[in-house]
């Protein structure tokens, strides 16, 4: 492969929420901006320097900051965003748990936390509560402080494990 010039756009093939997608982006465009330009505005930008986690998406199944990933770096990758979480009208267990546990107020941080938690519970379904809390310190929620989010993720984890809460 050769250079993408600074004024050029490149074709980037990614699978977004299961759908093969061809994005045309300049080399410098972040994955977050590219997704948002594509209409997936559920991925939010709270800082663009890697601290807040509002932009968290799953890249090949792992939570990453999409503001610190260039769109061109995602070539060939599998990208999951909050828009792909619910199955039609059926909310994901995590989404329901957030709603039921008061884990959102303004909702701006919510998509990032949902993706972070989704990545965690998939990779480590049996993560102990301390681990869940530790991973959830990766993102910031100014409205709730984050405690209710930890409770929501623990509740979802129990439900996914088949326990009746």
């Amino acid at each position: 492969m050769t250079w993408i010039g600074e004024d050029d756009s490149a074709a980037v093939d990614v699978v977004v929420n299961g759908r093969p997608t061809a994005m045309r982006v300049p080399a410098r465009r972040t994955l977050a901006d590219a997704l948002r330009d594509d209409g997936l505005t559920g991925t939010h930008l709270g800082c663009e320097h890697g601290v807040c986690g509002a932009c968290t998406v799953l890249l090949d199944g792992r939570p990453v900051r999409s503001c610190l990933t260039l769109a061109v770096q995602a070539e060939g990758a599998d990208v999951e965003t909050v828009e792909g979480m619910a199955e039609g009208p059926e909310l994901h267990v995590l989404q329901r748990a957030f709603h039921e546990n008061g884990a959102l107020q303004c909702g701006f941080c919510t998509p990032g936390f949902l993706m972070l938690a989704l990545g965690l519970l998939r990779a480590e379904p049996e993560a102990p509560p301390e681990r869940v809390r530790e991973v959830l310190t990766s993102n910031l929620c100014r409205c709730t402080g984050g405690g209710p989010i930890v409770q929501a993720v623990l509740a979802a984890q129990r439900e996914l494990a088949g326990d009746v809460a």
């Binding site: 320097h49 008061g102 100014r142 984050g146």
Partner: protein, 753 residues
């Protein structure tokens, strides 16, 4: 008389969570208009300088750039003060122009705007705007800002003082003369601010056919922003439409009229294209209102048996470089809150707003009250230490007694004209006892003593306060029935993530006797809601909520009249109104219900906080291990939402007490401009907050609500500070400033040994 349908007072699920959970919600950055172009602000890198020249040629030459404007392109306008109460002739002389005129006065002040077809290109071009500046001396701290000989920020003001609020009650000198004990400290609350997770943003568009301007993104005080823009753009407010979209947290700083709101509107009118501006996070830290920084010289006089006699306070409150839309509130609000919930024989205070070469200051959740609570409650603990009295006992002996309410401070000659400081209802003493009891105060004290050792010191702290809320002047509401049997509630408040739609729908539904899914609350658009005062000072529930209640009653009364029945006997069902004996008519025949709730004076309500901390002695790290807040909300329409609000506010208060600081160096350069340097607490730094909601209904409003959105904040920094001071021991050096970072706590511990 409220119809019992159980909606008011129930933990009804939040409406509107669904789009937030699925990514479908639309925040301002998600709004796209055809042909939109992107604005980037060129900001001052220095704190104080004369502008010698601005060269925009290189920026204009960048392909994709449509315009570069400076102050020379604008009319000579200023952002007006929105509250008559906080508007003074002197404040009016230090209002901010949208782009700096001749002089820059803080790092981050807008100097020019670049508009380009792409946000990336706009940022490239903005870097090429060459600003030639001649440095001036800076005013970098609040305590000396008003001293003679300091550089004057606004020469035609003559000095750096915006306004002063002296308040006097009783004979202070006599009370001090009688005192057995006098304690005094210089106490400082640091600069910090709201930092919502969403930055600000705005998009403006002009309808080519009508010339009407639409602005998306304003929230909180839409109608005031519309009035301000109308004045600055010389347009009729009716020709401006402000549309609120989803908002990622407000907490007081978002949705005031800011320079950028005017700039995008001006540019949209000039370029005849939609202009979008999204603040980036480093901009946010210098552009969006800061808050809180104040220094107080406070002294308290008491008797040997712990009876408070009087206090004197002299305070300097930072305004930053300009007065913004909130005028003199940074000095007015602390003045109103310094006396707090105690029975002082006398006090004399004066708060003075001063200018410094730093980002302007506005209101942040619990404005003025949080600062006042910190200085007063901290010094009360110093006094308790001096008297050898338990801090809770000291408060217990001095809180205004339950049967002394209502209670109004009489202000003596020489006092500034301020709204009455009047506590209409509540039960301060018993509310405080409830907190102590539920938290297990005595046991906590014993535990703290036994658990403290060489490595960890445990401390317990309490703080009480009164909080102003439910500010008027009034709010209008309209309820319009639709053919399908649903009802639309129109009201002029703002949703900033507090769940206000849910609460207002509960109130309407409760009165009309219709379920939640038949109700829609519309507050997003200034076209649909011609008047409204917005979301500030915890006013949405007590003011707008009562207006909605009255509108629902009005609708019920009208329906009853139509059917010749008693209001209590009609029922809204299936798109019809049903009376007794089978009479009915389509609900649309009834017309609209209208309500207006006037609130000439704000309501004060009581609250308190209790904090338990562990201090790791060798590193100075402070951990809040328990935190309990209590607040009298008058009436909790939705207790779960109220608890969420209080807990969220308390979390912010803990961040303020331990981590967050907008510090500046001696050249007035900001030291915290990223989320790495401005440390918001995460779930790792916060305990699970315990909330106690008390309901002592407010008289004079049918709902009885007082307002609660800010209260978890107000006592929190004070309680945490008192807990840390308790952990460090009453005899050592005093905690007189925040945040209690590990570094500061170590310094205190070093001093103690």
């Amino acid at each position: 008389m409220t119809r019992v349908r159980g909606l008011v007072g129930a933990d009804v699920e939040r409406l509107a969570d669904l789009p937030l959970l699925t990514g479908a919600a639309r925040y301002v950055a998600d709004v796209h208009r055809d042909g939109e172009v992107h604005a980037r602000i060129v900001r001052s890198q220095v704190a104080h300088a004369r502008i010698v020249g601005i060269d925009t040629a290189d920026a204009e030459a960048v392909p994709g750039v449509l315009a570069v404007i400076t102050a020379d392109d604008l009319p000579d306008v200023r952002i007006p003060i929105r509250l008559p109460l906080a508007d003074t002739p002197r404040a009016r002389r230090v209002l901010q122009p949208p782009l700096a005129r001749g002089v820059v006065r803080y790092v981050g002040e807008p100097i020019a705007v670049v508009v380009a077809t792409d946000a990336y290109v706009a940022e490239d071009a903005a870097e090429l705007v060459d600003v030639d500046l001649d440095d001036l001396d800076v005013v970098a701290e609040v305590a000396t800002a008003a001293d003679p000989g300091m550089p004057v920020l606004h020469p035609d003001l003559g000095d750096n003082i915006v306004s002063s609020y002296p308040l006097h009650h009783g004979d202070v000198d006599a009370a001090f003369a009688r005192a057995d004990v006098v304690v005094r400290e210089r106490l400082r609350m640091h600069r910090h601010t709201a930092v919502p997770m969403e930055t600000r943003g705005a998009i403006a568009e002009v309808d080519p056919a009508t010339g009407r301007l639409t602005l998306w993104g304003g929230a909180k005080v839409k109608h005031a922003v519309r009035a301000a823009l109308g004045e600055m753009l010389s347009m009729e407010p009716a020709d401006i439409r402000i549309v609120e979209v989803n908002v990622g947290g407000g907490f007081g700083v978002r949705g005031e009229a800011y320079p950028e709101d005017y700039l995008v509107a001006f540019l949209a009118l000039r370029l005849r294209r939609p202009v979008k501006w999204i603040e980036d996070r480093t901009e946010h830290f210098v552009a969006t209102n800061h808050a809180r920084e104040q220094e107080h010289e406070l002294e308290i006089a008491a008797t040997a048996d712990g009876r408070l006699l009087a206090f004197r306070d002299r305070a300097w409150c930072d305004q930053g470089a300009y007065a913004r839309s909130q005028g003199t509130l940074p000095e007015l609000l602390p003045a109103l809150h310094l006396p707090g919930p105690y029975r002082w024989e006398a006090f004399a205070l004066e708060t003075t707003g001063v200018l410094t070469n730093r980002t302007p200051v506005g209101t942040y959740r619990g404005p003025g009250m949080t600062e006042a609570a910190f200085v007063r409650e901290r010094l009360l603990d110093v006094l308790a230490g001096r008297l050898g009295l338990d801090p809770a006992e000291l408060r217990r002996r001095n809180l205004i007694r339950d049967d002394d309410l209502p209670f109004t401070w009489s202000l003596g000659a020489g006092s500034a004209p301020v709204p009455p400081i009047s506590y209409q209802s509540g039960a301060f003493c018993s509310s405080f006892e409830t907190l102590l009891e539920r938290a297990g105060y005595d046991e906590l004290r014993r535990e703290a003593a036994t658990r403290s050792g060489d490595t960890i010191s445990v401390g317990v702290g309490v703080a009480t306060y009164v909080e102003v809320g439910a500010m008027g002047p009034f709010e209008d509401a309209r309820i319009a029935p639709a053919a399908d049997g649903s009802f639309v509630v129109h009201v002029g408040v703002a949703s900033l993530g507090q769940g206000v739609e849910t609460v207002l729908a509960q109130i309407a539904g409760d009165e009309l006797g219709v379920p939640m899914d038949r109700l829609r609350v519309d507050h997003h658009d200034t076209d649909a809601v011609p008047m409204g005062f917005g979301a500030f000072a915890s006013r949405s529930t007590p003011v707008a909520g009562n207006a909605v209640l009255l509108a629902a009653r009005d609708l019920r009364t009208k329906a009853a009249k139509l059917l010749g029945a008693e209001p209590d006997d009609v029922e809204f069902r299936d798109g019809h109104v049903h009376g007794p004996g089978g009479a009915s008519c389509p609900v649309q025949d009834v017309g609209e219900g209208r309500g207006r709730f006037d609130k000439p004076h704000p309501t004060f309500s009581f609250g308190a906080a209790l904090s338990v901390v562990e201090v790791e002695r060798d590193t100075g790290r402070v951990r809040v291990v328990r935190h309990v807040v209590v607040h009298d909300v008058g009436r909790a329409v939705n207790p779960a939402l109220v608890r969420g609000q209080l807990a969220g506010a308390a979390s912010q208060g803990i961040g303020a007490a331990l981590l967050e600081e907008l510090s500046y160096d001696e050249r007035a350069q900001p030291m915290a401009t990223t989320l790495g340097d401005y440390r918001l607490p995460s779930a790792g730094e916060l305990p699970d907050i315990e909330v106690i909601v008390l309901e002592h209904p407010a008289p004079g409003n049918p709902l009885g609500a007082k307002g609660a959105g800010e209260s978890g904040m107000v006592g929190t920094p004070a309680a945490v500070a008192n807990a840390v001071a308790d952990a460090l021991g009453a005899t050592g050096p005093q905690v007189t400033t925040l945040p209690l970072t590990a570094d500061r706590v170590r310094a205190l511990l070093r001093e103690a040994t």
